[in-house]
Symmetry: C2
Subunit: 361 residues, 2 copies
């Protein structure tokens, strides 16, 4: 068995997906070539892309009036692209700032439009440990969107509710929690996700956008970042990252085989529940996030003695528990429990933590 | 043996590269994870990225005063990014238009700056069969750059010389001919290439840019498309397409093992020479490109009876000669002879062509 991989992203993939990719790496569906060696516009890849869209729509119950698009550049490039595509004649959009990623989205948008902070949960020291309550929102009814990040990967903070934005389209960066549980797509004007956590490898980005919001983008928008342009060309305005797209398809297939997003939610509740219980039961480990908005996919925690953090990471790795180091912006430890991480992985981590506490605590 | 793959891109990769990737797909260098499952900022991937840069610099003899950067989005996204990054206080750049790709580069730049056509080789009907001579250039000494495409993939046209641009930085879209022969990088202000032809799989784009040209990009430039930003962060301002990057490294290793760009040039001359000789010796096959600027990587050709084109493609595929259909913009046939295509592949194609002519011609 391979070691347990708690990487925040690029994250571990289901072993079944990698095994399948390995099997067909030199000959995809009898084409005589690898899936990465065939034309994206040829019949073999076009059929694959179609199958993937059908599967994604089924898994996420995407309504027909939403387009499913793929891009390169990660969610970070969408921070700009969404402004070019969705601003129209509005002056700007509203942002809920709850951690590193929503902060970055707001900052990057600020260079292109009036990106108002409608609410922030940063404390006086700039740290994040909660999400704002709706009563704290200062929403602009003329905003082109309300943007938020349902799960902050770095801080381990997850919205326990979907913000109400009234008539203003709601936009969500779902990079770290997409497919981790059911999402009611109809509540969103647009949602997007870099693939490298719960969808596949790095290098492909999913955008789901309500069709009535798709319009001619701002002048000067690179054509390959135009929602209108890509929607009219099956996301193939230029050569797409075909192998990443294919792997994303294999991940969707695996999620479906496992029982879909309901099954994923049950597993993720169980995994994160077990880890938070272990943290809370201990005086050695701690998690600073308000209990009602603790992330069920990225569990951050600290040691009573922070000087032991590097030792913890190294000994965990030796015990085949990989990538537990926290993000450099916040330090500490982090276990990312994406769909590909098993209950067994969490159980082994909890056992390791108990033993580490016994010997070092 | 796998069939011969003449795809224009995503193109065939060396079988040795795919075999190697398959071997280490589930465990990269003893990390216990696939190379696509580890943090780009972790020691294993950082070391790989460094090795790849060293190898690329050696293979292409990249001078020290040039930065080697990687992006997502393909060469098409660089059509915009280069304007944002390199325009500075100039009004625009000059373009040599010699086919579909240089035309597209000029059109996209036009939405962002004054993109002057300094020369075009389009005939009255808009077709391309040659490159312009230097005497035809109408260069602006104040242009921020002179942009050209050394090899037009769709039309099968290759510059037999490097345009002289004086003090104006020369920019080249080398997507289809990079590594096909030695390039004197010092003649360029910047050169770039989508990987999916001669460098690796789709999803990663190489930019080599002279460091003194790297400056603060235009306001509103997405940070991940900033040359300055990416140069300061090892091309990892956000999560890069790690698996594509890794495969690109394997391709570089393979090219080096084969003898480097000199060996590639000799092979490509031999392969393209054999195919053009077969075309020229026949009354059934024809190539319309001026002989001095025929591409040595993308060989376009037509049948005396164009109605037989689809039959040719289908019968070739049945004979294990894949992807010979010409680009939809020009029709006809095209054999792309990138580095991974063997002399044997060309010999088999020439034999097939002779037999097809004998039975159908």
């Amino acid at each position: 068995m391979r070691p347990h991989n708690f990487s925040a992203g690029p994250a571990g993939l289901p072993e079944a997906v990698l095994t399948r990719a390995r099997e067909e790496l030199l000959d995809f569906r009898g084409s005589g070539a690898s899936v990465m060696e065939i034309s994206h516009r040829g019949p073999v890849f076009m059929r694959l892309a179609e199958e993937i869209e059908v599967r994604l729509r089924r898994l996420m119950q995407v309504p027909d009036d939403y387009a499913v698009l793929f891009f390169q550049g990660g969610a970070t490039l969408q921070f700009s692209a969404l402004v070019w595509n969705l601003l129209g004649d509005r002056a700007g959009g509203d942002y809920l700032v709850t951690g590193l990623w929503s902060d970055k989205a707001q900052r990057i948008a600020s260079s292109l439009c009036d990106a108002r902070i409608a609410a922030t949960s940063a404390d006086a020291a700039g740290a994040y440990a909660r999400v704002p309550q709706p009563a704290e929102f200062d929403l602009d009814p003329n905003a082109a969107w309300l943007h938020y990040c349902p799960n902050e990967t770095v801080h381990g903070i997850e919205f326990p509710y979907v913000p109400a934005s009234g008539a203003v389209p709601l936009i969500a960066d779902y990079s770290s929690s997409i497919l981790s549980r059911p999402i009611d797509v109809s509540q969103y004007g647009m949602l997007y996700a870099g693939a490298q956590k719960n969808l596949g490898p790095a290098g492909i980005t999913l955008v789901i956008v309500r069709r009535d919001l798709i319009r001619e983008p701002a002048s000067g928008t690179p054509p390959v970042l135009s929602y209108l342009g890509q929607a009219g060309r099956e996301s193939m305005l230029n050569t797409p990252p075909t192998f990443a797209w294919y792997l994303l398809g294999l991940v969707l297939e695996w999620v479906e085989e496992q029982g879909g997003t309901d099954a994923m939610a049950a597993r993720n509740d169980s995994k994160s529940g077990a880890l938070y219980r272990a943290i809370d039961a201990s005086n050695y480990y701690s998690n600073a996030v308000d209990t009602d908005c603790r992330s069920r996919v990225n569990v951050t925690f600290d040691l009573a003695d922070p000087a032991e953090t590097a030792t913890f990471v190294a000994e965990a790795q030796a015990a085949r528990l990989l990538a537990l180091k926290g993000h450099s912006a916040v330090g500490g430890l982090r276990a990312s429990l994406y769909n590909a991480v098993s209950q067994q992985a969490v159980d082994d981590l909890v056992s390791f933590m108990a033993e580490f506490e016994r010997t070092r605590g």
